[in-house]
């Protein structure tokens, strides 16, 4: 119900500017972007789709920061496991 799916805007309809075509993993659908009329998304930008509407724009910088955090702790974990193994060899 609260399903929100990321999709890439690939085209804004010239005749109806509140409609945009989005691509979700190779599947395309027209969605309504009226809820983002403050600052309409452009082709190439990603939005969150809910029941046929773009509910929010996906912030690439924030997503990258989240990934960086996850990768960071992943690396720290690997390092610590490596250190643990080494200390056991001693």
């Amino acid at each position: 119900m609260c399903l929100g799916i990321p999709g890439e805007v690939i085209e804004i309809r010239a005749d109806q500017p509140d409609l945009a075509k989005v691509d979700v993993s190779g599947v395309k659908r027209l969605i309504n972007i009226g809820l983002l009329s403050d600052d309409p998304p452009q082709p190439g930008e990603w939005v969150l789709i809910h029941v046929g509407f773009a509910l929010s724009r996906i912030d690439e910088a924030e997503a990258a920061a989240a990934m960086e955090f996850l990768e960071g702790i992943g690396q720290a974990y690997e390092d610590e496991i490596a250190a643990l193994k080494e200390s056991m060899i001693d």
Partner: protein
């Protein structure tokens, strides 16, 4: 899939699980409520609990919009739908939910014209194609979905469409959280805030939870790593003695929400004085109705709605499950009389309900993923 697959990585999950385990105080039990049914679904669908230490328990909250609609409202909707001149539309999840005389699917089998739509806008298409019928959209959902209904109403008015109306059952999440916080038998350590509701209302409405109830809130995304990281953020707050509202889902949730969406809701809908929730009873200012300005689209005014009230089944302990007092499997009828095929209570009716999620996905002995670092002192 972008923004999806990278948040499902098992390696990073293990690393995050180790960090979480390391923050657990020995002998202490932690209970966090994920408010949103979408989170409940993610947790079970990906087997996320395998990564959590046994001392962290997730309580599945009231945020399944399909589940909380009381039986009486469904009976009302079916009464509307049974009219010869009405085509009823709603989302697929809603159609399975039983009223006191079966579900919408059963009503469909008896000849009622009920159609599943993917988007509220699809109802307008049906209305255009059937000018001699009244198309009634049974609107359900939290603030996530209300803007879509609102935009659909605005569109219908702009088009001058005369045969479209809304049977409005939109509910608001904050009063429900408050009702749970006020319940005397509640014991929670923090909340995973509803990510998609927050895209609309932002994070500020949760500040009272931290300020007045002393519970930390982290607004969480819907991929399993989002949830794991949000649990980690809650654990860090507890460890550091902080109690704040934080936003883990910042790639999607602006702190102030979506003002266009809020305006659209405000234009077309207003708060009801009270609304009945299945399993939780009446809650003040917890739902919306169509504003008088849009009376011509209010199915409750256009048609005579009987206003049926049906008491929640006695055997069902959904109220306790929703508040986290009971785990789904601790309910007396769980899995025997009450199953996803024959749901008795609210938590079993939608795949996002706590009981249905546990029954469908988690009905087994859980083997936790071994975490290396957390085990060390």
């Amino acid at each position: 899939m972008r923004f999806v697959d990278e948040f499902r990585d098992a390696e990073q999950a293990r690393a995050l699980a180790a960090k979480i385990a390391a923050l657990c105080e020995p002998g202490r039990q932690y209970k966090f409520m994920e408010v949103c049914g979408g989170h409940t679904h993610t947790i079970y669908k990906h087997g996320l609990e395998d990564y959590l230490p046994e001392s962290i328990n997730l309580v599945h909250g009231p945020g399944c919009p399909v589940c909380v609609i009381p039986m009486g409202r469904i009976d009302d909707a079916m009464h509307l739908a049974a009219r010869e001149d009405v085509i009823m539309t709603s989302f697929g999840d809603m159609l399975r939910v039983p009223g006191s005389n079966g579900s919408f699917f059963d009503a469909k089998a008896r000849g009622t014209d009920i159609r599943m739509v993917y988007s509220p806008l699809d109802s307008l298409k049906i209305a255009r194609q059937n000018p001699d019928k009244q198309v009634v959209f049974m609107a359900i959902g939290f603030e996530t979905t209300a803007p879509s209904t609102a935009m659909t109403m605005l569109r219908a008015r702009a088009e001058g469409l005369k045969n479209f109306s809304v049977f409005c059952n939109h509910v608001t999440i904050v009063p429900a959280i408050k009702a749970i916080l006020d319940s005397p038998d509640l014991r929670l350590d923090g909340f995973l805030g509803p990510g998609h509701v927050s895209t609309v209302i932002g994070c500020r409405p949760y500040e009272f939870i931290a300020r007045e109830y002393g519970k930390p809130v982290v607004t969480a995304g819907f991929e399993p790593l989002d949830i794991l990281r949000s649990i980690y953020m809650l654990m860090v707050q507890l460890a550091e003695g902080r109690c704040e509202v934080e936003n883990q889902y910042s790639r999607v949730v602006p702190w102030d929400g979506n003002l266009v969406a809020l305006k659209a809701i405000g234009e077309t809908m207003e708060l009801r004085p009270y609304f009945e929730w299945r399993g939780l009873g009446f809650i003040s200012h917890s739902a919306m109705k169509v504003r008088e300005k849009y009376a011509e689209m209010d199915a409750e005014l256009l048609f005579k709605v009987p206003g049926v009230r049906v008491a929640d089944p006695k055997a069902c302990q959904c109220g306790e499950v929703l508040k986290g007092v009971l785990k789904p499997w601790e309910c007396k009828v769980f899995g025997t009389a009450c199953t996803p095929e024959t749901p008795i209570g609210t938590c079993m009716v939608s795949p996002e309900g706590a009981c249905a999620a546990y029954y469908n996905y988690g009905r087994m002995e859980r083997h936790r993923v071994p975490v290396t670092i957390g085990e060390r002192p």
